[in-house]
């Protein structure tokens, strides 16, 4: 009788005074990044224990009490102390010197030290490296977004190219390479984002913002080739559904077809005029027959979208292209030489220049994603939410990033009328024709609701 939706939603949290505010119903939906952290916890937790500092308590309006204003002052003081810490490049071996390469708008460094560099930067193979063969093995190249990120973090000391760059003699301590002028962070932004377009690059501020956000969270982020210009790639075969094996479909002759044929032959064909009604009055043995008659709307089925004979190039809208391949921080299978399948695929979208994608835009974007079906024997809701293909849209709105996971859920493949009840388990009766086979349903018939 009651509309269950009108009932009160369960509110998680320890109590009315603590926890998330009344507007946020689900703990999982709260993004800690959106809350301003309390720097006092940072000070107290320095070094000794590695706990993530908690958020402080939130006051919603000024109380004009000394307690509140002193708490605010203490937090502000802690924040200033934390930010005023001076960061220096560690002397000696920890100092990673890098050089800017103007022709390709990239940065290279020789054997940088640090655990960070296991997942960032790459060495170019023979023939691709613009500086030739000498020292190629130890020379690590960094893409523009990687360079800005490392400089911002303080892990890399990027220098402008010096005038006297010669490999022989030189008389300097670095074995021939003179150190150039240091490149400031501002200069990095200018060269890698501001002037990127003129140099044929593709990095925009939105893409960099997404990159740095993900890197700070610990993910491994590499460029996906489709979204950065360059050569058009064919759509790989993995982007399509696999062809089904075999041609014989079981269940062609089912009991219900037999009875229906028999009955219609006797009772005279009720002329099924589709003008009158989709489900004309007649004899139906079960609701599945009725529902099958109702299914007249075609839907997109990703399991039957097979690879065409000729490989095709994707015709994606430039505003909706795959930008990054992302691996989780705990993923131990990642190697620079063989990254493996990415855990997530991100497409960076500028919210101010685009609108909610149309069907063509989103379908051509999903075409470039490999096919990833859910488990066939899973729950209905899990299968629908997992979808057959999925992509994460990073919608950047003037510096505020929102991630939306769009997945191609084929509702048409989940026929609810065939799986009603918790105990159905996918049993299908129409495997064999004729009578006398199995003993029917056994004791299952009498179960309650």
């Amino acid at each position: 009788m009651a509309d269950v939706d009108e009932e009160e939603m369960p509110r998680p949290g320890p109590g009315p005074g603590l926890g998330p505010g009344p507007g946020l119903a689900d703990e999982n939906e709260i993004d800690l990044e959106e809350e301003v952290q309390d720097f006092r916890f940072l000070q107290s937790a320095k070094g000794s224990d590695a706990k993530i500092p908690k958020r402080g308590e939130k006051d919603f309006e000024p109380h004009a009490t000394d307690l509140q204003s002193s708490t605010l002052a203490a937090s502000r003081e802690a924040m200033h102390t934390a930010l005023s810490f001076q960061r220096v490049h560690p002397p000696g071996r920890g100092h990673n010197l890098a050089q800017y390469h103007p022709e390709t708008n990239m940065v290279f460094a020789y054997n940088p030290k640090g655990p960070l560099f296991a997942r960032i930067g790459r060495t170019l193979p023979r023939g691709v490296d613009p500086l030739g063969e000498e020292g190629r093995g130890g020379r690590m190249w960094f893409l523009p977004e990687e360079a800005i990120y490392l400089v911002e973090r303080g892990s890399l000391d990027v220098r402008w190219p010096s005038f006297a760059v010669n490999g022989d003699g030189g008389g300097s301590d670095d074995g021939g390479r003179e150190e150039g002028l240091p490149m400031s962070l501002q200069a990095c932004y200018v060269m890698f984002i501001g002037e990127e377009a003129e140099r044929g690059g593709q990095l925009t501020f939105e893409k960099y913002h997404v990159y740095s956000g993900l890197k700070r969270a610990g993910y491994t982020v590499l460029r996906a080739e489709e979204g950065w210009g360059g050569t058009e790639r064919w759509l790989a075969e993995e982007c399509y559904a696999p062809l089904p094996p075999g041609a014989w479909q079981p269940g062609l002759f089912t009991w219900e077809r037999f009875t229906r044929f028999f009955h219609s032959a006797f009772a005279g064909s009720t002329s099924w005029r589709s003008e009158e009604s989709l489900v004309p009055p007649g004899l139906y043995h079960n609701y599945s027959e009725i529902y099958r008659r109702l299914a007249i709307i075609p839907f997109h089925d990703p399991t039957t979208t097979f690879a065409p004979r000729q490989p095709q190039t994707p015709n994606t809208d430039p505003g909706f292209r795959l930008t990054y391949n992302v691996w989780k921080p705990g993923n131990t299978n990642f190697k620079k030489s063989d990254p493996g399948t990415p855990d997530f695929r991100i497409a960076v979208i500028n919210a101010r220049e685009t609108t909610v994608p149309s069907l063509e835009q989103i379908s051509s974007l999903l075409e470039t994603i490999p096919y990833d079906p859910p488990k066939p024997d899973g729950q209905v809701y899990q299968k629908l939410k997992h979808g057959y293909k999925s992509v994460i849209l990073a919608v950047v709105d003037q510096g505020v990033i929102s991630y939306l996971r769009i997945s191609d859920a084929a509702f048409g493949r989940e026929r609810l009328f065939e799986r009603t009840g918790a105990m159905r388990g996918g049993k299908r009766g129409g495997g064999r024709g004729g009578r006398g086979g199995r003993g029917g349903r056994g004791g299952r018939g009498g179960r309650g609701g």
């Binding site: 009788m1 969270a217 919210a351 609108t355 009766g429 086979g437």
Partner: protein, 569 residues
């Protein structure tokens, strides 16, 4: 091999008692169904409730208002079952029962232009349509048409002198729960204010710190109140399925038991009876007048079906018989009705009713019953009040009539004509887009209901609103992939009105859905190009509704918010 298709919920049998005369064999392991005897196993709601528990599994056992006749089971070890099977088989062959036995000529309904909906007033039809598929909404109730029962309950309470018992409508439960929560919030705000006041007093030096601590432990009212417990939920458990309640109640109970913020002493849960008494007293006072009378109440409520639902019931299932008043009579008169409209004309009618024309036609439409007539021109109430507000002052205060110049026009756009036209309408019609989505999800087995209360177009339920929360909220977005819409001039013009939505709209919709634990589904409906040459070939080519509907294509996407910090492992 005997294929047995069980009824969907396993409720006792599909056969109603009215047809016992046909001596169709019943399922042997299922209990015989009767309407007044409830099977014993349903009393899992074993509370000491006064009223009978409603077994939703039994009431809503049929997903659609049609009847099915499964063949009985076949056991190879039992020869009698073979005989029964043959008997049923032959009976079905020579005397086939109809699936539309419950609605032999269709449930009667009539189309109402002023409300853009279809009304059903026949009580049997109302009951059948709600119970078998959750179609429609009671016009005076929240969803299920319960107005008559609520009125009868009020009268019964008046005659019995008050006291709870009998039927408790969901609306009353909600009202009480909201009242409790409001009081709880007031209490919480009061406690917080007192805490701040004390803090200020401490700082001003008026109150010593020891006194503050004493105050915390002594007075019981200083602690934050716990949220109201769920006695109310327990009482009305009989009204709802138990499984759903237990999931919802547990977090609330856990919350109630957790320690409040400030001090150790906690007040007991607010006395439930004190919260209920204002309600009861009010009820007692208001229904004293009704004590004397005990006449039967005429049901003022009707079941309101949206145009989409009505078309589905009428065309797809064929169980609804919609009467449409001809254009020269208003809704209130029912002297003559047009004969039953064929589905194509019905489609045209609904499509035209749903389309809003950009320029409203001048002059009032004869269909609309005039709300107020001033200067013998029918006007809408809003126009009237505007006209009165801007009217010049009366010279003569003793004159009783107010003369207002006619300046206003009807506010809502009216469709051009009620008479269906043979030409087919623009496929880019909002009714058709909604209908395509509705039909698509119904044909898969979902119960789909309007989702305006959660800011979406539709809500999808697994079995129905009484069983579980809706899991999905559907937004319908048209898509124009056909070359007609991008290449031809008129196609482009027709598309102009449908600009892309901006991202903030999508973020809003997504946030609302996640706050109510639902998943957002974007349903793109691919609109085909309009049919060509339908103006010329009037009777030449017969358009088939099924063919028209099959030209559309549906694709769904599930949208979920992805959190950076939560997806690390």
């Amino acid at each position: 091999m005997q294929e047995i298709i069980l009824p969907n919920t396993g409720a006792p049998g599909e056969l109603s008692t009215q047809r016992a005369a046909e001596t169709l064999p019943k399922e042997e392991t299922l209990l015989p169904p009767t309407d007044d005897v409830k099977p014993k196993r349903q009393s899992r709601n074993n509370n000491n409730n006064r009223k009978k528990a409603r077994n939703f599994n039994q009431i809503h056992s049929k997903p659609l208002p049609l009847e099915t006749y499964p063949l009985p089971a076949f056991h190879p070890s039992n020869p009698i079952s073979l005989l029964r099977l043959c008997y049923t088989f032959l009976l079905h062959t020579f005397y086939p029962p109809s699936s539309h036995i419950l609605s032999v000529d269709g449930y009667p309904a009539h189309f109402s232009l002023s409300t853009r909906s279809v009304h059903v007033t026949d009580p049997a039809a109302v009951k059948a349509l709600w119970e078998m598929g959750f179609f429609g909404k009671g016009s005076l109730s929240r969803s299920e048409p319960t107005w008559l029962e609520r009125e009868r309950e009020l009268q019964r309470q008046a005659r019995a002198g008050g006291g709870k018992g009998g039927f408790t409508a969901a609306e009353a439960v909600t009202r009480q729960r909201r009242e409790e929560r409001r009081l709880f919030k007031l209490e919480r705000a009061r406690v917080e204010r007192e805490g701040i006041e004390r803090q200020r007093a401490v700082e001003r030096g008026e109150l010593g710190v020891e006194e503050v601590l004493q105050g915390d432990e002594g007075a019981g009212g200083q602690s934050l109140p716990t949220p109201p417990p769920d006695n109310l939920e327990h009482e009305s458990k009989g009204d709802r399925g138990e499984a759903v309640d237990s999931e919802l109640l547990d977090p609330l109970l856990a919350q109630a038991e957790s320690m409040p913020l400030l001090s150790s002493a906690s007040t007991g849960p607010p006395n439930n009876t004190t919260l209920l008494s204002p309600d009861k007293a009010a009820a007692r006072v208001s229904i004293h007048e009704l004590e004397q009378a005990a006449p039967d109440i005429k049901n003022q409520e009707h079941l309101q079906l949206t145009l989409v639902e009505a078309f589905f019931l009428s065309y797809a299932l064929g169980v609804l018989d919609i009467t449409v008043p001809p254009p020269d009579q208003t809704d209130t008169q029912t002297t003559k009705t047009v004969p039953h409209l064929p589905p194509l004309d019905l489609l045209n009618l609904f499509a035209k009713t749903s389309a809003t024309t950009k320029t409203p036609p001048t002059g009032p439409s004869p269909l609309e019953p005039p709300t107020i007539a001033i200067n013998s021109h029918p006007l809408h109430a809003r126009a009237v009040s505007h006209a009165i507000a801007t009217a010049p002052l009366l010279r003569d205060p003793t004159s009783t009539t107010l003369k207002v110049p006619f300046t206003a026009a009807p506010l809502t756009p009216q469709p051009e004509a009620l008479v269906p036209q043979p030409a087919f309408t623009n496929p880019n019609n909002p009714f058709l887009l909604s209908y395509i989505t509705y039909h698509h999800f119904r044909s898969l087995g979902w119960v789909i209901r309007p989702g305006a209360k959660f800011g979406v177009d539709y809500l999808l339920y697994n079995r129905g609103p009484v069983f579980s929360h809706a899991e999905f909220g559907v937004l319908v977005i048209p898509a124009y992939t056909d070359t007609y819409w991008s290449s031809t001039a008129e196609g482009r013009k027709a598309r102009e009105a449908e600009r892309g939505r901006d991202w903030w709209w999508l973020h809003c919709a997504n946030r609302v859905q996640s706050a109510v634990h639902k998943t957002l589904v974007l349903c793109y409906v691919d609109v085909p190009a309009p049919l060509s040459g339908d103006d010329d070939s009037d009777g030449g080519k017969e358009w088939d509704v099924k063919a028209l509907l099959s030209r559309y294509k549906v694709r769904e996407f599930v949208v979920k918010r992805w959190l950076v910090n939560r997806s690390r492992d």
